[in-house]
């Protein structure tokens, strides 16, 4: 077993997250899928930190977590306010911006 396994696992997780974004309609679940993608990237960063022998990758992963936290806060607030006006958390219902 090599570090490549971690990376491939991260790629698969990332893909699952991406597909989840595409097929799920609940905005909150979509958000969770995005979190999954971020997490898989974090796994990649940590693995490369180990491979290269520096902690820079871990620092990056740390910042990703911070940004993800901020993003979740704002994103959930947006979902809340959309839900308040449209009584729906479906991303398909918020489709006014079109042709």
């Amino acid at each position: 077993m090599t570090l490549t396994y971690y990376l491939v696992l991260a790629a698969i997780l990332f893909t699952i997250g991406a597909v989840g974004v595409l097929v799920r309609r609940n905005a909150i679940v979509v958000f969770m899928c995005i979190e999954l993608m971020l997490n898989s990237v974090n796994l990649t960063l940590v693995t490369f930190a180990r491979a290269t022998g520096t902690v820079d990758g871990q620092i990056m992963a740390f910042f990703v977590m911070v940004v993800a936290a901020a993003e979740v806060v704002v994103g959930l607030a947006i979902i809340m306010s959309i839900y308040r006006t449209r009584r729906s958390a479906s991303v398909d219902d918020a489709n006014l911006l079109k042709y």
């Binding site: 491939v8 597909v19 905005a27 969770m32 979902i79």
Partner: protein
């Protein structure tokens, strides 16, 4: 330079936790219920946190478990509970070809990236962090964070403040002072609607006291008003229903646990 040696313990941990993480990811995507999705995601995140610890990043592993799995996922659940469940939980696809295209593209992406990574890192030999963090993980991260990445770290604080403010601005409902309605006004407003009374409960003809069971109207139809929001209503057709007198004579009719006889009273089950 030390080569990182991946021991048996790590291999076992990977082969145990890797499938768990994958299962969590797939379960998140495929659960109908958003709460289940969140719980599946927690599983994946916990697995990843363990991977971090294994990969010589115990600080990140702790942060992953505490901040991500603890704080952020609780926030998710909190919002889920606030807005409840609605039609968005349906897994029926409304966009034509979306699911097929997403699957094909996802497989293609996974194949390409996985193959690319596998090829690029075929000969990758881990250096290991033993030299990079001689005094342990946390001092090394701290040193790096407060020297090389100080500016980014400080900017992060601004980002967090901004995010907190933004969330407040977005979620806050502005009310003019004095516009808060009194109990009397609310009551009056309620009586001006079509339904001043409370929503009907399961009712006298209900065969279950679950909130998922809609109330039945005297003619046997379900009362849509009684259906709780956020709960998938049981389909009325799937419920045994009294349809005629001849059923009373059948063994099933006599069984009567799910089939209260309308003529005999509200609880047919009492007769059995």
């Amino acid at each position: 330079m030390n080569e990182v040696v991946i021991g048996t313990g790590e291999t076992v941990a990977f082969w145990v936790l890797g499938p768990v993480a994958l299962a969590g990811a797939l379960g998140m995507v495929f659960s109908r219920n958003a709460v289940h999705s969140a719980l599946w995601l927690v599983t994946t995140m916990l697995s990843l946190g363990v991977f971090y610890v294994i990969q010589e990043a115990p600080f990140l592993g702790a942060v992953q478990i505490i901040v991500y799995t603890g704080a952020i996922m609780i926030l998710f659940l909190f919002v889920l509970m606030m807005i409840g469940r609605d039609s968005s939980d349906s897994v029926v696809e409304t966009l034509r070809g979306q699911r097929v295209a997403a699957t094909v593209l996802g497989l293609g992406f996974a194949g390409l990236v996985g193959a690319g990574i596998a090829r690029a890192t075929e000969d990758l030999v881990g250096v290991g962090l033993a030299d990079a963090q001689p005094e342990g993980n946390i001092p090394a991260i701290a040193e790096s964070l407060f020297t090389d990445y100080l500016l980014a770290f400080e900017v992060t604080s601004a980002l967090l403040i901004t995010a907190a403010l933004g969330a407040m601005v977005l979620a806050h409902i502005e009310r003019e002072p004095g516009t808060r309605r009194t109990q009397k006004e609310l009551s009056r407003a309620r009586f001006l609607t079509e339904r001043p009374q409370t929503l009907p409960g399961p009712g006298v003809y209900a065969r279950a006291n679950s909130v998922a069971a809609p109330a039945l109207l005297p003619d046997g139809r379900t009362s849509p008003d009684s259906q709780a929001t956020g709960i998938e209503p049981q389909v009325a057709d799937q419920m045994p229903r009294p349809t005629g007198r001849e059923q009373l004579g059948s063994p099933d009719g006599a069984l009567g646990t799910l089939d209260p006889a309308p003529l005999d009273g509200p609880a047919g089950g009492d007769r059995s």
